[in-house]
């Protein structure tokens, strides 16, 4: 059987592979190559060794964006997961209207980041103006808080769905047995429910982690990095290095930043893999 199928690879694998090469492999290899070059147009490049990478770490906007992104990622990951889990707990109690609640909470996920960014810009600027505080684009702290609120609004519903699925898969007789043994609600939550949904926790944590870390659309639409790049996140910083700055050195530096960005994401993913594996062993 295997032999018979394997001959058919031009039909089953080739189309995907060709698109894969065009849309991913070739641009990736080329990108790595260009990160060691100085160029304005790709037809004329000069090899500069690791100069671009050295420049990346001397670029204060990149370091600032890195710090901003890191803090944002941690804050939003914690907030989103705590809130999503809490809502999931409520929605698995069997109160009336659970389906409607779930529908509403999930809805923002279907709206694109650019649209969400503009919606919240109008709303938050309105709130700030009424509080007589500086607008989003003038105050990096407001921009930060705004981004966190926006991300919570968008992502809580998504994570909640995953937590609900996790909680529903906790066997009911396990909880019944615990109740008979005289466990109270809190003990059931911390000793049974939370340990049982740990796989969901891992999944959601890393989903929010990578989503927040790679955030671009919302950042562009809500603050566009204002004021003076103070609310600029890594993805936007890379974009701006490529397309917002003129000068022969910037494209190479932008590509080097992209490689560094990629490596950070790889590290996060490896940690995730490690966590998932070790959890699976435990169970």
């Amino acid at each position: 059987m295997q032999k018979a199928i394997s001959k058919y690879w031009p039909i089953f694998v080739l189309p995907t592979l060709v698109a894969f090469i065009i849309g991913f492999i070739w641009p990736f290899i080329w990108g790595v190559y260009l990160s060691f070059q100085r160029f304005t147009t790709v037809s004329k490049t000069t090899f500069v060794g690791i100069q671009n990478y050295l420049s990346v770490f001397q670029d204060s906007t990149f370091l600032h964006a890195f710090g901003f992104t890191a803090v944002f990622t941690v804050v939003s990951t914690v907030l989103i997961n705590v809130c999503a889990f809490a809502i999931a707990l409520v929605l698995t109690r069997g109160i009336k209207g659970t389906n409607i609640f779930r529908t509403v909470f999930f809805m923002p996920n279907l709206i694109g980041g650019i649209l969400l960014g503009y919606i919240w810009q109008i709303l938050l600027n309105g709130v700030l103006a009424n509080l007589q505080k500086p607008l989003l684009a003038l105050d990096a702290k407001a921009g930060f808080v705004g981004l966190v609120i926006l991300m919570c609004w968008q992502q809580i519903g998504y994570m909640m769905i995953i937590y609900v699925a996790g909680l529903q898969s906790v066997p009911g007789d396990l909880i019944e047995a615990a109740k008979i043994d005289g466990a109270n609600d809190r003990e059931i939550l911390f000793k049974i429910k939370i340990p049982m949904v740990m796989p969901s926790v891992t999944i959601c944590t890393f989903l929010t982690l990578t989503n927040s870390f790679k955030l671009f659309d919302q950042n562009v639409a809500l603050t566009a990095g204002e004021p003076a790049n103070a609310s600029e996140m890594l993805a936007l910083n890379i974009y701006n290095t490529f397309y917002g700055r003129s000068g022969a050195q910037w494209k190479g530096i932008g590509q080097a930043k992209a490689v560094v960005f990629f490596l950070i994401v790889v590290v996060i993913s490896l940690i995730q893999l490690h966590f998932t594996r070790s959890k699976e062993v435990q169970q």
Partner: protein
Amino acid sequence: MKKMITRRNFLKAAGVSAAALGLAACGGSSSSTASSAASSTAASSTAAKADGKVYYLNFKPEQDQDWQDLAAEYTKETGVPVTVVTAASGQYETTLMSEMEKSEAPTLFQVNGPVGLANWKDYCYDLSGSQLYGELTSDSFALKDGDAVTSIAYVIETYGIIYNKELLTAAGYKQEDIKGFADLKKVADDIQARKAELGVDGAFTSAGMDGSSDWRFKTHLANLPIYYEYKADGIGSTDAIKGTYLDNYKQIWDLYITDSTCDPKLLASKTGNDAVAEFVGKKAVFYQNGTWAYNDVKDLGDDNLGMLPIYIGVDGEENQGLCTGSENFWCVNNTSSEADIQATLDFLYWCVTSEAGTSAMADKMGFVIPFKKAKDSTNPLITIANQYVADGKTSVDWCFSTMPSEEWKNGVGSALTAYAAGTGKWDDVVTAFVDGWAKEYKLANG
């Protein structure tokens, strides 16, 4: 590199012949005769012309539709396809950068002045031999790199303090009463003191210090101290600004934020849209802006609009006029094919000489264009601006095109905002202005 040089040489030769034709055409013949003459001289260039096309990456979103219409008209007349794309606001540089990477790059784009030009000069076709350059009324509207004419201004704009005549009269003043900063302050303070009686919220509109209108202060207002410093030192640009007139800058900024529709602390929670709404809603008498803003303020009625020079308290300012200049320069992409370059040059020439082109630019776009066949614009703010020139007032040049970078402007803007809110000191503005200039100049040119 070698390839580029040979192409340049070829184009130079072509340009010389085009200029000769342009001179011949000056005898009163229209552009169509010029092009037919060209076709008879060089058969190859006609062939090239036939399949040339124009791709214009336009900077001004408010004129997008007018350009689309004009382009369609040109295509109907000549059969040459003209595509106009307008970059979304605030994204011109990024759009230009990504479009220039593509195989069908813009043949026509624009820069905002010498600083913007520095980034793109390698892509600028030398316009010195073009018919377009021949139509220019003054050489000061062209940007040069050595002998090469890299870009040509296509619209002249003017700004100052737009005021509401009805409200100023109601307060008991007229334009003639304001001949300098002291007068302006006296009038503004008086209006501010009697704001309840006059039914306004303040003398000046609020600011809008976010991206929506901070350029009115970090760029346009900051132009005045730079202009006077250049004038005193007899220079046209500098690598290190001294800040001789920064006290005057403080004076006018203090006036703007004190005699305003809102508490200075609240300026940071207003947008440009808010400032316009206040002025159009007759809640403020003065609104610093330029001729381009006419569509926003026209609801007040043409007769009701006036413009004042921005006085900052410099000696001899009674002869100061409005601030006039350009930050919109056309560049033709020298990496486009020869046919496309020729098509682009023809299109531009048609825009600034033909009846359809000049009327569209004057009437629909409301532009004053620095070309010989220009029509008078119907924009009433421009009429006011012209009156100042006719009265012999000295126009203030737009020196802000020599500001070292966007970062510099942002630095000044943030410092101004912080100062208004009371969270920063004026010294921070001075630092951003003087030290920031030297730092950014070095970064941009070093």
